[in-house]
Assembly symmetry: C2
DNA sequence: CCACCTCTTTGATATGTGTCAAGAAGGTGG
DNA sequence: CCACCTTCTTGACACATATCAAAGAGGTGG
């Protein structure tokens, strides 16, 4: 079921035609993509992500991350959870501390999906869909 | 807002020490990027964008777009404005109607910025030391 | 000038989100 | 078992945002 864009046959010169009512991007797909973008669309989370990406193994624990953004630990924990449940970070316990690690493929997938050619021009092999895993 | 992506130039790999307060990604840059991502992080706006991208000239007017997402015109106007003020769409009057057009470079810029190599690896000196446990 | 069309703004409302303090949960070491 | 550390959850609050109806603003054509 390739989500072919239903390319309205009529772009009326005077606009406002009767217009076909089939949106180009399926609502569920739009929601799935929006969820991921929302996870990224926060200055704090972007800073956390940037810090993680700059680390050797692209990972760090909460106590290291909180001072980076000058926020309380519960707040940072909330942000990390959001990034984790969106598939952008993974979480792993090491003794007392918890290590969060970047999942680069997740970010790449989003970036690729955003690239106009990839998500608005469903090529034979629909790659875009694979990056929209379970939303919730 | 211009569509120049906020590129950071300074990374200080401090971690978990006495808490150096210089995050890897500058706060202003993080905010600038977050604003763009927020503009994209909405199912309705993604659908509008997908529809626009599928059009011959990647443009359409409000009255065509409203039925696509099954929302009132004021609401669609609100979304379009958000996309426009983020630099993702441009606006142009043609007689009675207003044409919104995609700015592909804006989307590409965001996608590129998201690509890890582009926004988190300005690393001239990448000697981030392991920051496991803070003694403090 | 006036009726009409398209689009935007305004006001109101409901929902979502970021933040913190306080306390709970999970784990370590005496 | 108890003291302690790290992390997460909960409750509360402020702020942002999505939505619509109604009215305004901009433009066309009798």
């Amino acid at each position: 079921m390739p989500k072919t864009l239903p390319l309205l046959d009529d772009v009326s010169p005077i606009c406002c035609g009767p217009l076909g009512n089939s949106p180009t991007l399926d609502l569920d797909d739009a929601i799935a993509l929006a969820v991921r973008l929302k996870a990224l669309a926060d200055p704090v989370r972007l800073q956390l992500l940037a810090y993680l990406l700059a680390q050797p193994n692209q990972e760090a624990c909460t106590c290291d991350l909180a001072p980076i953004v000058n926020l309380s630990e519960p707040t940072v924990s909330h942000h990390l959870k959001k990034l984790q449940t969106s598939g952008i970070l993974t979480k792993e316990r090491h003794g007392m501390s918890v290590h969060y690690r970047v999942v680069p493929e997740a970010i790449h997938a989003i970036a690729r999906t955003l690239d106009t050619g990839t998500w608005a021009q469903p090529s034979p092999d629909q790659e875009a869909r694979s990056c929209m895993v379970g939303v919730s």
